[in-house]
């Protein structure tokens, strides 16, 4: 009896795993389409969007790097600047504030949390 139950639950496990993998494949499809279409000429994208890029072409990447409208170095620099300073200052200051809030009195804690929640409720 125990043996049977074990086997059936193992069978169920496999089915659940199969469902998971299927979901993951569906989930990854848009990303797959994006990545493979980087290496295709435009004509081929509309003709057969799902097929593998044979032969792969680097024209799209080249045109991005050479386009005068797209200064990719500057763009990356801007994003990295914002990320580093934003996250750095945020971590420092918010951990300091959290340290105080958890050590303060209960009713005052609620007040602080309310004030900091305001920002979440208001849309940017």
């Amino acid at each position: 009896m125990k043996y049977l139950k074990n086997r059936s639950s193992r069978f169920g496990n496999h089915i659940l795993k199969l469902i998971l993998i299927l979901l993951a494949v569906i989930f990854a499809l848009p990303l797959y389409i994006t990545v493979i279409n980087i290496f295709k000429p435009t004509k081929m994208i509309s003709a057969s969007p799902m097929s593998l890029p044979i032969p792969p072409i680097l024209d799209n990447i080249k045109s991005v790097l050479q386009s005068p409208n797209v200064n990719i170095g500057q763009m990356y620099f801007n994003s990295i600047c914002i990320t580093v300073f934003g996250v750095g200052i945020c971590i420092l200051i918010s951990s300091m504030a959290a340290y105080y809030i958890v050590r303060t009195k209960k009713n005052r804690e609620a007040l602080y949390i309310f004030i900091f929640y305001l920002g979440l409720w208001f849309h940017m």
Partner: protein, 285 residues
């Protein structure tokens, strides 16, 4: 000890007051005026802006769209997220790989995602050409051109984007459930479903509350996907509340009126999340 630790909260409080509380208070004040965003002076007109909101059919439509998106997305994301998380929790070796696959869309920027999906869903896009090559040419439709399909498309994109995040939230709270509770359930002869229903679910109520609140808040503030995919159109039919606020403020130069809508949205979001926090703490074990 006390004095020193008060200094710790000071920088956060200062930055927060300057960048958050002051603008929010400013929005409250502006909502009582008729400022157009450019002129030097403006008049206080009391609650006329709020009264005008009742007659604004464009706003009502955008409220309807926002509610639809919020309902569809937050229910799907939470149910599916919990489902996938509980499957992933005992999937063994493949857990980590699958978790990264599900989380990948959330890492990418929303605007980039919107462009990817635009190229998939547009009339000459990837999805339609796949359907055609498979011989389903008769069911090809415009997924963005008409408002009903467009709202559904926005929901699908948003679900695809945020599902991974909520799944990770659920996975994290499921993994904190102590193993001995499951053992006790096994000893009592509990099935897989009973383990989930009577052990996992009650133990992760705080996680559920946070996940639901975050999904509802972020859906009510939906803007970027709508901006890229439909730009509010056709007509005004796929505008969300936030999109409406931005176009009223900077397109139609009615900053006072748009501030009133912003305050209205703020009050609704605050009320919804308060109710949920209360309900969540009641359900907790």
């Amino acid at each position: 000890m006390r004095k020193k630790s008060k200094l710790f909260v000071f920088p956060a409080f200062l930055i927060y007051t300057l960048l958050m509380i002051v603008p929010i208070a400013g929005a409250f004040y502006l909502s009582l005026t008729d400022w157009n965003g450019i002129s030097a002076g403006f008049n206080l007109i009391g609650f006329k802006n709020y009264a005008a909101m009742f007659k604004d059919t464009r706003l009502h439509n955008s409220i309807g769209v926002t509610i639809t998106i919020t309902f569809v997305v937050s229910i799907t994301v939470n149910v599916l997220g919990l489902f996938i998380a509980s499957l992933l929790n005992n999937a063994g070796k493949i857990t980590n790989t699958l978790r990264s696959i599900f989380f990948l869309p959330y890492v990418m920027s929303t605007v980039a995602i919107s462009f990817i999906w635009f190229s998939i869903l547009s009339y000459t896009g990837v999805l339609n050409s796949i359907l055609e090559s498979l011989g389903f040419g008769n069911i090809i439709t415009d997924y963005i051109g008409n408002s009903k399909n467009a709202i559904l498309s926005i929901c699908v994109i948003e679900i695809w984007r945020t599902l991974g995040f909520h799944m990770v939230l659920y996975l994290a709270s499921i993994q904190t459930v102590p193993e001995d509770l499951y053992e006790a359930c096994t000893v009592d002869g509990g099935s897989r479903w009973q383990k989930f229903r009577y052990v996992t679910l009650p133990m992760i109520v705080p996680g559920i509350t946070i996940s639901v609140i975050m999904s509802i808040m972020s859906e009510m503030k939906q803007y970027d996907i709508v901006k890229v995919i439909t730009n509010g159109g056709p007509g005004y039919s796929t505008e969300t509340i936030t999109y409406n606020i931005v176009t009223q403020a900077f397109g139609n130069n009615m900053l006072g009126y748009s501030s009133a809508i912003a305050v209205f949205l703020f009050i609704i979001i605050a009320a919804v999340s308060m109710i949920q926090l209360k309900a969540g703490s009641k359900l907790e074990v």
